[in-house]
Amino acid sequence: MPIILAELDRLIVKPTVDFCELTSLPIDIGGAARRAVPPECGATVTLDGYVRQFTNGRETLYLEYEAYEPMAFKEMQKLIDHAKREFEVSTIGIVHRLGRLEIGETSVVISVAAPHRKAAFAACEWLITELKRTVPIWKKEVYADGEQWIEGDHA
């Protein structure tokens, strides 16, 4: 997220509003969705992923997420850079929760603002698919009778 402060002898401030975050606090979805609304935009598409109570009929009590944090940041930033080259979108925000999450709590929010909604839908869907493939974060499901690290994307 480079901020170009000066170009030639004129001060040009380019506010870059993309963001990626890892947090152990509850995620404010609406806040993430509205954090960046560029004046030329008309639509934001937000993907909000959360803890399922049942997976294949088995009840999950809670989840734990762990990240390789510095690499996760780099990978999220790569996804943002790639999406901004591939899709006509203005602003992208990714927030991923870490630590213990209760049923129904949000684990990930990806918001994409674009002048036209079609690009926002396409970019948001691409971003969540790639995040689940490349960003080094792991999920442990805790059941009444045990626990299991999930290996790979089974969502």
Binding site: A67, S107, L131, K132, I137, W138, W149, E151, H154
Partner: protein
């Protein structure tokens, strides 16, 4: 500086540790991983992926002193 090896999630449980420092000898990723698995055989029960200096490893890269190697299972974030 040693080569630092990091474990996460399932590999941290299998290795019983989150970090390991190896000697400074230049090795290939394959050699390094084989030696880590020899020491922590439970790792062999998992599909493993690797990162070198916080980048996904594509093939059999060479690891030098000071490098950071991560050993983990396929990611499951989102």
């Amino acid at each position: 500086m040693p080569i630092q090896v990091l474990f996460f999630g399932a590999t941290a449980d299998a290795a019983g540790r989150r970090q390991l420092n190896l000697g400074t000898e230049t090795v290939t990723l394959t050699t390094l991983v084989a030696s880590v698995i020899r020491e922590h055989p439970k790792l062999a029960q998992h599909k493993l992926q690797f990162a070198i200096n916080q980048e996904h490893a594509a093939g059999d890269e060479t690891i030098r002193d000071g490098d950071e190697v991560a050993i983990f299972t396929p990611v499951s974030g989102g």
